[in-house]
Symmetry: C2
Amino acid sequence: MSGEAAYADWIAVDWGTSHLRVWAMTSDGEMRAEATSDKGMGCLTPGEFEPALLELVEPWLGAGTIEVTACGMVGSRQGWAEAPYVAVPCKPLELRAVPAKTQDRRLRLRLIPGVKQDKPADVMRGEETQIAGFLSTVPGFDGVLCLPGTHTKWAEISAGEVVSFRTFMTGELYATLSKESVLRHSVGEGWSDDAFSGAVAEALAKPEMLAARLFSIRAEGLLRGPDPDAANARLSGLLIGAELAAAKPYWLGREIVVIGADRIAKAYAEALDHQGLTAKSADGARMTRAGLTALHQRHSEPAA
Amino acid sequence: MSGEAAYADWIAVDWGTSHLRVWAMTSDGEMRAEATSDKGMGCLTPGEFEPALLELVEPWLGAGTIEVTACGMVGSRQGWAEAPYVAVPCKPLELRAVPAKTQDRRLRLRLIPGVKQDKPADVMRGEETQIAGFLSTVPGFDGVLCLPGTHTKWAEISAGEVVSFRTFMTGELYATLSKESVLRHSVGEGWSDDAFSGAVAEALAKPEMLAARLFSIRAEGLLRGPDPDAANARLSGLLIGAELAAAKPYWLGREIVVIGADRIAKAYAEALDHQGLTAKSADGARMTRAGLTALHQRHSEPAA
């Protein structure tokens, strides 16, 4: 990163509830630099978005105007400005980013809209951009994308469209149960492959037993002595297994790609593997950048 | 409550993680006075139990020794002293309370042990006393007791024994999800009978869909406008419905008594009612006192 003028041709932004990630991009979609901060949407008031962005991208700006394309919760009603949801079925690569006002004239900001589904009621913000990125890489994809996270999404993709999707609160259940519930006394930071795969299998066999099996993690710790690594893997396995049971109509007999490369994405791939399914994987941050690039370039083209 | 000497013949104590309740009892099991504090086990170090108890019962003491019989987490490893678990199958009315040391010579303390189950691993502390109380009132009971709470218990009772039991973290899931998760933006304090019964039915039909339906509470609020009362009832209904689906082997075709009379116990009774099952109900605090009385009297009898 340097202070020279117009270091970037345009700026790509991934702005979620708890994080802000920016990339200095070249016009041909290469990443020149990146920066992050913890100034997610969740901790900002409306007037604080622009300063939070400038704090990171100021060194990349020149005298002229630079295009900034952003995805994520920054486009929600509580964000910088609202980019209203687009309803499924829709083509992520044809989403129109919405212009938003800035105080600083050097910035020309556009916000990528989220995607909504009426029945069952569901929403995404940010994942649509990862899906666009994936489809820009694998244009003819027909199958299912799994996007693990705080609110894991399963999306059915056909002919370049998101046909339907479903969100599972699995990641948030894991975080609140391991930190706020009685299970915090039992669950550590470590891992056990056996405990994880056993729990996935149990949960898939009888997914309705979730609330009872969760308590058994605590009871086992009390009666058989603590095993924080196994308890952690078991909690994760019970939750992911229950999700896989519910998402079965999505993944059964389909080609599956898990978008993400962190521990949680690997856990999903491993859980699917136990079901005899080989899921491919794609890097989450790369898909976000690819999606931002595709949707940025769409706006740079002459309007139809 | 008065300051006269030996106001109580003995003292009954219900000491949980977050509360302390004491009753001044007569030798024939009548309650003369009661007092409560928020000094639950969760906020006390070992040396703080006796002062917390004396703070409430001091006015009831005379010059002589008084028997104090206590149930709940006070008998856990982190409690005043440990009263080790008794394994199922066991007769709650034959549990032997364990003597514990006190600094104050006026107190003769006994702690009622909890009950454990090896497979599946499970524990209870406090509920065994409520079950003892219920069995002292309905000695020939053969059926299922449901004890709603932070950790709801289902116990199969036959011939005066707890044959088996299972704990569900439903109450704690409700508390952490409504306060700590993204659902806190959607869930209010009010209630909707229709939303509750609809959610119970949905959960019973497809209990594995829990994590997806939880997120739909948030998505519905975003897409259709907020309805905090309905969202609250729906959250409760989804969790209780999923529990009923899992507890089906317990309640199907059995006589059911729900111990408790608060809103959550009424919700369980209502949810069972939607399944065509008429659950009887018994007051929770009264069952605790009846159990403490029965187990206190057992110790007052000459040893066999």
